[in-house]
Amino acid sequence: MNYIGLVIGYIFLAPFIGGLLDGFDRKISARMQRRVGPPLLQPFYDVIKLFKKQVITVSSAQTFCLLSYLFLMILTGTMFYAGWDILMCFFVMSTAATFLYFAAVVTSSAYATVGGNRELVQMMAYEPAVLLTCVGFYLAEGTFSVGEIAQSEFSNIMYLPGFFVAFVFILTIKMRKSPFDTSTSHHMHQELVKGLTTEMGAQNLAIFQVAEWYENVFLMGVVGLFIINSDPMSIIAAVLVIVAVYFLEILIDNSSARMKMDDMLRLTWLVTLFTAGVNVLVLMLVRIF
């Protein structure tokens, strides 16, 4: 019953939570830049307005790709909150991300294609860390099942600090935040041209936005999974950590300059290898003794 509630909650509430997080994001970013910033609910106003606009696209196949992206993203989160296999969740997520890439390149627009190709490099950069995070959970709990991991005796972050660092690191890429926002990097002086979203307009951009919210709620769920344990009080701790991580992402976003794509790839893989590698070795040693 618990899971059914969570799933229904995810499907219906995730866009609101994601939108609110986005609103806070904009507000806090603005304050960091000494601006007033938009109202908290601005992301919702934007999306509603986008849905009302006339649909103009370069390729009619784009909506198809974006809808597939959205629904596969929802499936990913649903599987996660239903307590299923976490590795399978990430597999479905990578299929979803593939559709986002398709939505960008199907237009054959110069800006969107460059953004899409960069998104692909970003996917390559974060995927090892994502898979290794699953390995971490498996090593600590002996299962990929989200439901069982969430019921563990101690918070998993005790065993998996290295994996946690790796995951938070790639979260910056996944959320397309600076310094790793190459795929949505702005065309000089024009906010409207934004990497792989260049050719997405009206309803299509709205779908993209909503899918992003679903994605963020799912990713924050994975962050929470590091904290949560059989004690119900741990939920509060998990929420606090999620908020802290989100704030950290905003801070990084506002305080760092964009990195070159191949540097990003190298750095991410190094960090992944190092943190996850050390963590794995320690876990293996603990298992032996």
Binding site: I56, S60, V105, P128, F144
Partner: protein, 639 residues
């Protein structure tokens, strides 16, 4: 079960007849009929075997005559190699044929008495292999008949020797059937040599300089493996007085020290067939041959022979030094060649590197030798065979129509050659996307390598699957874009039989994906039971249900989305180009005020991770690794 000798002998006879028919039309008709007969015979085999209770069976204990025929065959093969090496002045290669053949002849005539074994062995694994060889191989023949027609129209410089081409392809199929059904190591050695030499002859088909060089590279690498195989058999016969493959595996699995050396040598030989580093270059070179032969080498035959041997040996390799060696070579090859695949833009080269890469994963699965990993390996093998065969045939057909097989030229293929593009998309999706089997197999391999504590393998898979997704996804992205070679019209000159073969492949692909959980419980679990003697269900039931759900969802969502967007008429406008559009999406105004063509290209990172940069260090590292490991294994036995 007389269908088994039929499957082995019939293709050779067909090959001989095809060699004699010089009328193209007649030969084509004959080749069709025979490949249909072979496909039919494979199904008859399956039906008979299922009717007999689907259990392990051994036949043909007294085969004096057949043994002699095989011995003569081996000598003939050696003579063929000697003639060819003298003709092209590659004298040293003949040694690699003379040594093993001499050893085999000596063993057969003067060797110690060996216990009688049934020469033919039928179980789940060999029937599965026969299905792959028969169905995929048969379809490749059907495809090839049409393809070679177009090929010779475009390549006037190549002498038309189709009679020879089809003869070798059929011999190849016969040898593969013989290979997977043989229990006697002497027979296995013979069929092994036949496949080596058939692939040599196929690669050299065009007879230009590159083809000849590449064919000799394939020849010496495979014969080199053959030497190791012969030494392994020799040692086994002299120490244990048996030529039974299963006895070897059982002894190895029971921890018999004497079985270690033959297992290590035969596994080493399998690495050459499966084109693992440092022996990968022969398979890349094999690309110069016409497409049907590449498809055959890469999907249904040749490389699968190496994988098959490793699966057989898997129980004997579990948890020992040999297993570590094989798993490491496989994992390393998986990662390194997937890097190299990123840097290629030639479609066939990408396929070649991805074949080696995927084979690496299968080799690693066999090397770890646990039921879960072999389960994953078997599925990888099935899906890879179909996907790769489909992709090779499709790239070949595309090349005939587009006059290029460069992925950059396939920009917008969905608009230029829609049929072929759709097949290509299905094939690529089968190689890495979510509900298709490859990914599930990867899941299982991943889990099993954590369970066995093989952390190196975990890292290989984690990084390797990221790079694998990268090169497939960017290829798919090319296909679905708008065409920027739109003003040139290309006619789809794909022959009907090519389309038939492609369609069957695509249907098989989707069907297998849907029936995946069923195949796992009905077929692959018993296979593991035979191999490891304990019944396991590798995928937990809950996961199976989940899979069915995900599969349904992933198929239905795009369909629904497609139906949804069809209702709407959209306002289609030009793409954003900084305000310097010219009127369509193909040109923009450059700084001189001229119209400039917009050309979009993928990332390849040639200079960072190209084959030129990585291949030689990888080969060197793997060579030294293999030498050290072999010395350690042999030393461990002797000491």
């Amino acid at each position: 079960m007389s269908v088994i000798p039929f499957l082995i002998v019939f293709p050779f006879l067909v090959g001989a007849v095809l060699f004699c028919i010089r009328k193209n039309r007649v030969r084509r008709a004959f080749a069709y009929c025979c490949s249909v007969i072979i496909i039919g015979a494979v199904f008859v085999l399956l039906a008979q075997w299922l009717a007999a209770g689907a259990q392990v069976m051994t036949f043909y204990y007294d085969t004096h005559l057949a043994d002699r025929v095989i011995l003569c065959g081996e000598v003939l093969l050696m003579l063929l190699v000697i003639v060819q090496t003298i003709r092209y002045r590659k004298y040293w290669i003949m040694l690699l044929s003379i040594i093993p053949t001499g050893m085999m002849v000596y063993l057969e005539l003067k060797g110690p008495a060996v216990s009688e074994v049934g020469k033919i062995y039928v179980d789940h694994l060999s029937v599965l292999m026969a299905l792959i060889i028969g169905i995929i191989g048969g379809l490749i023949v059907i495809y090839g008949a049409g393809y070679m027609h177009g090929y010779h129209q475009h390549h006037k410089e190549v002498r038309d020797r189709r009679y020879y081409f089809f003869m070798i392809i059929f011999c190849f199929l016969g040898a593969m059937f013989g290979f997977v059904f043989s229990e006697s190591l002497m027979w296995i050695d013979f069929f092994w040599e036949v496949t080596s030499i058939c692939s040599f002859l196929l690669i050299g088909y065009t007879q230009d300089e590159v083809a000849i060089n590449n064919s000799f590279r394939a020849l010496w690498m495979n014969l080199f493996g053959g030497v190791f195989l012969a030494v392994g058999i020799w040692y086994f016969v002299y120490t244990q007085g048996s030529v039974s493959l299963h006895e070897l595996v059982d002894n190895g699995a029971a921890g018999d020290v004497l079985a270690m050396i033959p297992v290590a040598f035969i596994a080493f030989a399998a690495l050459t067939k499966a084109a693992q580093l440092p022996f990968s270059t022969w398979l890349i070179g094999a690309m110069v041959a016409p497409t049907p032969s590449s498809a055959l080498l890469h999907s249904a035959t040749m490389v699968k022979a190496g994988i098959y041997v490793l699966f057989r040996l898997a129980p004997a390799m579990a948890g020992n030094l040999i297993g570590f060696m094989i798993a490491f070579v496989g994992g390393f090859t998986f990662l390194l060649t997937s890097f190299m695949a990123i840097a290629q833009s030639d479609g066939k080269k990408v396929l070649a590197f991805s074949t080696i890469s995927n084979l690496g994963l299968m080799v690693a699965c066999a090397g770890m030798g646990k039921p879960e990993t072999v389960w994953a390996g078997v599925f990888l093998m099935i899906f890879h065979a179909i996907s790769k065969s489909l992709l090779f045939q499709d790239v070949g057909a595309t090349e005939n129509s587009l006059h290029s097989r460069d992925i950059e030229d396939m920009h917008g293929l969905i608009n230029i050659l829609p049929r072929l593009a759709v097949f290509m998309l299905i094939g690529i999706a089968g190689m890495f996307l979510a509900p298709f089997g490859m990914l599930i197999a990867k899941w299982s391999a991943f889990k099993a390598s954590i369970d066995t504590g093989n952390i190196l393998m975990v890292f290989f898979i984690a990084f390797g699957s990221a790079t694998t997704s990268f090169y497939w996804t960017k290829w798919m992205g090319k296909l679905i874009s708008f065409s920027h070679v739109g003003e040139r019209k290309f006619k789809d000159i794909t022959k009907k039989n090519e389309i038939i073969s492609l369609t069957i492949h695509a249907i098989l692909m989707v069907l297998l994906c849907m029936l995946f959980p069923l195949i796992s419980t009905v077929y692959v679990d018993p296979l593991l039971h035979e191999m490891f003697g304990l019944s396991t269900q590798v995928l937990p039931q809950s996961l199976l249900y989940m899979l069915v759900f995900v599969i349904l969802f992933v198929f239905i969502v795009p369909l629904l989305a497609y139906g949804y967007i069809r209702q709407y008429r959209r306002n289609v406008k030009l793409s954003y180009m900084n305000g310097i559009n010219v009127g369509d999406n193909k040109y923009f105004v450059d700084s001189f005020g001229d119209n400039k063509r917009l050309w979009l290209s993928n990332y390849y990172f040639h200079n960072m991770i190209g084959a030129r940069r990585l291949m030689e260090p990888g080969q060197l590292f793997m060579t030294s690794f293999l030498i050290v490991m072999m010395i350690m294994i042999i030393g461990g036995v002797v000491a």
